[in-house]
């Protein structure tokens, strides 16, 4: 039986081709709006996570490490590398005013062999002075300090069932894994000084370390610095450059600037495509509805002649538009979410920025907003159609073709 309640569904089923076209456009609109806003939020989430994880205000590296260390890109696409400077540089840096805390780190990279031809960046810290790594280790490992050959790995490092990772024929025990940051920090393996020294010596023995003339006890790779509250980071960085020879100084602002610039560029492009897709989708929906109203004007006139008010007919058109766009919107959001969740790492790599999926609340809000934008397109299209119906003269329409 046909009733006003099920008439929109019967119409949608009866005009399958038109319904499919409407579904496709509303799906594309939702896919573009949800996907686009998720990508922008994902890059923002990555940026804020990296800022909070980095922990230091200033990072000092050897001046001759410029080829291996690009401050602007190190958090986005750094290749695993290592470089050293004399340990004495720490004392020289300590004399600069405005420093609250400082801690040295020692870098090493695994050889591209033995496992899966992936080089891994190793970062060793001094447990006595470290303030950048240990606070995060506490989130993943709480059983006291790290022992010899214990490591904590970034989220991109695969942890096999035996919890062992092998470097230069030495087995290291994985005791924890960090949450993702969407940056190169996810590709690192963290350990204490004693462990890295064992690995550096093993790399010397295998002839796989270009700095074999150094004694691992006398060198450091970088100094992480936290300035005193109220101190000007740029001034302290400038003073270090002036007072300490042979070092290169990068501030955290410089280091996340690369991500910030990428965020601006990508946000601009993604926003443009999102708005364009939404406008095209809305225009196509309007066009399809205009054609549909024209095609069905005798049907509407008949309903009118049978006593249906203009409001009832308008409601019918609006319900048809809302139902089909709601279904298309849900499908588009589901498809977009599937692609984003499954290929998140690939998307981050293709975009060339840190990409982290936002939290569940943000995802739900973005999905709701995308669905609303598709429903808005439905309401606009239906409203234009309804205006056309309200201007129709039912008696003239019914007389047409007689």
């Amino acid at each position: 039986m046909i009733s006003l309640k099920n008439l929109p569904f019967k119409n949608l089923k009866g005009y399958a081709g038109r319904t499919m076209a409407l579904l496709l456009f509303s799906m594309l609109m939702a896919l573009a709006v949800f996907g686009g806003t998720m990508v922008i939020s994902g890059i923002r989430a990555g940026l804020s996570k990296v800022e909070s994880r980095f922990g230091a205000d200033i990072m000092v590296t050897p001046e001759d490490a410029k080829n291996d260390f690009d401050a602007q890109n190190v958090l986005l696409k750094a290749e695993p590398g290592y470089f050293y400077m004399e340990k004495g540089k720490m004392d020289e840096i300590a004399k600069v005013d405005g420093i609250e805390k400082m801690s040295a780190q020692l870098f090493m990279a695994s050889a591209k062999a033995g496992c899966c031809s992936a080089k891994v960046q190793m970062i060793a810290y001094d447990p006595a002075t470290d303030f950048t790594i240990q606070p995060w280790i506490a989130d993943t490992y709480t059983d006291g300090p790290m022992g010899l050959m214990d490591v904590v790995v970034g989220s991109n490092v695969t942890v096999y069932d035996n919890h062992i990772i092998r470097f230069y024929d030495n087995d290291c025990r994985i005791i924890g894994q960090f949450a993702p940051t969407g940056s190169t920090l996810d590709n690192c393996v963290y350990m204490n000084y004693d462990t890295v020294k064992v690995l550096i010596k093993a790399s010397f023995r295998k002839g796989l370390n270009q700095y074999s003339e150094y004694d691992p006890d006398d060198v450091i790779s970088a100094v992480m610095i936290k300035v005193k509250p109220g101190a000007d980071i740029e001034k302290v960085a400038g003073d270090i450059t002036k007072q300490v020879d042979g070092v290169s100084v990068a501030t955290s602002k410089n280091m996340v600037a690369g991500i910030g610039d990428s965020l601006k560029k990508i946000s601009g492009s993604v926003s443009f495509f999102t708005v364009t897709f939404w406008l095209i989708g809305t225009l196509m929906t309007i066009l399809i509805f205009a054609m549909m109203i024209n095609e069905r004007k005798r049907e509407f006139a008949s309903l009118w002649a049978m006593g249906a008010s203009r409001k009832i007919i308008s409601d019918l058109v609006i319900r048809e538009a809302v139902v089909v766009n709601l279904a298309g919107g849900i499908l588009g959001i589901a498809l977009s979410a599937l692609i984003l969740f499954m290929f998140k790492n690939l998307i981050g790599q293709v975009l060339g920025v840190g990409f982290l999926l936002p939290g569940p609340v943000t995802i739900i809000l973005l999905a709701g907003a995308a669905l609303l934008s598709v429903l808005l397109a439905a309401v606009i299209s239906a409203w234009i159609g309804v205006r056309k119906i309200s201007r129709m003269d039912a008696s003239l329409v019914l007389k047409e073709g007689q």
């Binding site: 590709n187 790492n345 690939l346 790599q349």
Partner: protein, 132 residues
């Protein structure tokens, strides 16, 4: 069976074939190491390709056989192989060291999406056969 119905029944088989071909071509695992040997993920890739082939054959047999019990058996077999193929990369078989590598970023998501589709087709086939 009408031609249209036969073609429709072969769609699940096509999904299995797509899984097998995709995993060996566009959505393949990591390349060969510098020393000429294969990476860990290579074995998972081959196993998934074989599973895709099996799924395609099981669905094709289920599409052409008229015996209801045989159709259910082949659909159940396709379901089991799909679930196993879903678990192959990274769970049942080891993959490479870094999650930034191709086996994790390209092959694993493709395998997971395709095997879920195959499993849904198998469930649909079982339900359809049980109803008839």
């Amino acid at each position: 069976m009408k031609d249209k119905n036969v073609l429709l029944s072969l769609v699940p088989s096509l999904a299995g074939l797509l899984l097998a071909i995709g995993v060996m071509t566009v959505f393949s695992a990591c390349g060969i190491k510098d020393d000429g040997t294969f990476m860990h993920c290579h074995d998972a890739q081959i196993s998934v390709a074989l599973s895709g082939g099996c799924i395609a054959v099981f669905f094709a047999l289920a599409a052409f056989l008229k015996n209801r019990i045989a159709r259910i058996i082949f659909n159940v077999a396709a379901l089991v192989v799909s679930v196993r193929a879903f678990l192959l990369p990274g769970i049942l078989m080891p993959m490479c060291m870094m999650r930034t590598m191709r086996c994790y970023t390209v092959m694993q998501p493709f395998v997971r999406i395709m095997t879920v589709i195959c499993a849904l087709f198998a469930l649909w086939g079982i339900i359809r056969s049980l109803k008839k």
